[in-house]
């Protein structure tokens, strides 16, 4: 199994390790529930170095990304980022990813661990003649620091005005070498940051951040709590909630798609799907009590199967089981009662509006007066309603 540069740090903390798509990663250090609460109430540090980092640069970078991704990348200002999707010709989702514009023609693309090779091959195969695609994962790490105390803690440690970085903003960390960045992004629904740095700096940052986090009732967070956190925030997991057989429209990610763009891979298929109407829709549901809805469980209405669960968990914040999955559009309205089957027993489940949980206050996006080395977004950019930040987070 592959290991990150922080493997020994995880072992030293007594982490329970797990195989995640060929990577030996921490599942939990103490307890999934405790780690979850630490992130919601204080802060937690995650090693997410299993994710892939790709640089797309050059005069043709924007044109290339605009053809490969569903969002309008020309709307992403320098020092800003965009959550978006990459589709195949049939409109199926190849991956969900975040594109950070770190220079006028330089884009840092963060891809899912399971798709590192296939995404890179796809980018290479569709390379613009005036663009360069480089995998920069080797020798580099990714850390996520998430939770309401993350900004304060990082501000002290990094000697940078990270608090003024807007949501989905990115800035260089000048003291840590080229392409070292801090971004106000994450996969938890809480406020937080992601750091893209060398293995060397990651190891030192890990120790320093963990020490402060522990003193403030936070700590190291494994993949177990990463999953419960992302479910509460209704953030889709590639390979579980979506894959090449699902389209952005079905997955409830239509807001990422810039249908007004002249062309992008998968657009004709989406146009057709829009005309024909959807056959299924992504929804969230909750149980008053009962077992955890897990991937593959059936959803029924009037004794007929109308859908299937893709993700579920026990919500430590709301103290009840939550699930997400695909149902026939007639049953997608919040308030609809469905029947969930788990181990041959049935339980009533109610469709609810997503996300299940939302942070009370999050930084605005984009920020005014960003103290980053990247050029701040122009005033006119700030006026454009961003398609790049999930509405659930912006709203």
């Amino acid at each position: 199994m592959k290991r990150t540069a922080l493997y020994q740090h995880h072992r030293a903390l007594g982490a329970k390790m797990t195989d995640f798509h060929g990577w030996e990663m921490p599942l939990y250090y103490t307890s999934i529930l405790e780690e979850h609460k630490a992130v919601r109430q204080a802060l937690g540090i995650f090693d997410i170095s299993h994710m892939g980092q790709v640089l797309v640069t050059g005069d043709g970078a924007l044109a290339m990304l605009n053809r490969l991704l569903v969002s309008d990348i020309s709307q992403v200002a320098e020092g800003r980022a965009c959550y978006t999707l990459m589709l195949n010709e049939q409109g199926g989702i190849l991956d969900d990813l975040i594109v950070y514009r770190i220079g006028s023609d330089d884009y840092l693309v963060i891809i899912n661990c399971a798709n590192r090779q296939s995404d890179f091959d796809w980018l290479q195969a569709h390379r613009h003649p005036q663009a360069t695609v480089t995998s920069i994962s080797e020798g580099r790490s990714m850390l996520a620091i998430q939770g309401p105390l993350a900004a304060r803690v990082l501000e002290n440690l990094l000697d940078a005005r990270v608090s003024s970085l807007g949501r989905f903003g990115i800035a260089p960390i000048r003291t840590m070498g080229p392409e070292s960045c801090i971004a106000r992004t994450g996969y938890t629904g809480s406020d937080g940051f992601e750091l893209f740095v060398s293995d060397y700096h990651a190891q030192r940052l890990w120790d320093a951040i963990l020490e402060v986090a522990t003193a403030r009732s936070g700590g190291a967070i494994g993949l177990g709590a990463r999953d419960t956190l992302r479910v509460e925030a209704a953030l889709r997991l590639y390979g579980t909630d979506m894959d090449t057989t699902t389209s952005p429209l079905e997955a409830g990610l239509g807001w990422t798609v810039a249908m007004n763009k002249t062309e992008f891979i998968g657009k004709p298929a989406l146009v057709q799907q829009k005309q024909r109407g959807l056959v299924r829709q992504f929804v969230g549901f909750e149980l008053a009590q009962g077992p955890i809805p897990r991937s593959g469980c059936e959803l029924k209405a009037n004794d007929r199967k109308i859908g299937q669960v893709t993700s579920g968990t026990f919500s430590p914040t709301m103290n009840k089981p939550l699930g997400m999955g695909y149902v026939e559009p007639d049953f997608a309205k919040p308030g609809t009662t469905l029947t969930l089957t788990v181990r041959a027993q049935t339980y009533p489940a109610t469709v609810v509006k997503l996300p299940f949980w939302k942070a009370q206050s999050l930084p605005v996006s984009p920020a005014s007066g960003v103290s980053s080395g990247y050029r701040s977004a122009k005033a006119s950019d700030a006026d454009v309603p961003s398609r790049c930040c999930p509405p659930a987070i912006e709203g």
Partner: protein, 129 residues
């Protein structure tokens, strides 16, 4: 890790304690620690006739669901409703308030097939080394 001397154990990490005509069943400290965050427990119905080593209950932690097996054959006499309401009791006190159900054994011979505390400790050591 605590493994009380007076209990018998199964290879599937349940404990059982004979008390008069019934036998009380729970999961061991090892099982509790492996499962960690227990959030849901499904117990058998009182009156159910169960066979030794049959799956009779389910414990779910955040990460996965696990079957609980009947250490001996018999009839379910009582179940611990308190743990279905507060599953974390099993994490907190797996030999006490976190007991799961009581069986009236139908075949006393089956007890001889259960593990003593030494045998259970040896099995755990063999698993982890």
């Amino acid at each position: 890790m605590q493994f009380p001397e007076e209990l018998r154990y199964t290879t599937t990490h349940e404990w059982i304690k004979l008390q008069g005509t019934e036998a009380v069943v729970g999961i061991t400290a090892h099982a509790q620690q492996e499962l960690r965050d227990i959030v849901f427990i499904e117990l058998p119905k009182v009156g159910t006739v169960v066979k030794q080593a049959a799956a009779v209950a389910v414990i779910e932690s955040v990460k996965a669901a696990f079957d609980i097996y009947a250490p001996v054959s018999g009839t379910i006499k009582r179940v611990n409703e308190a743990v279905t309401g507060s599953p974390q009791r099993v994490n907190q006190d797996c030999y006490g308030v976190g007991w799961l159900f009581a069986i009236e054994p139908s075949d006393s011979q089956e007890f001889s097939r259960l593990l003593s505390v030494e045998a259970y400790r040896q099995k755990l050591q063999a698993e982890t080394h």
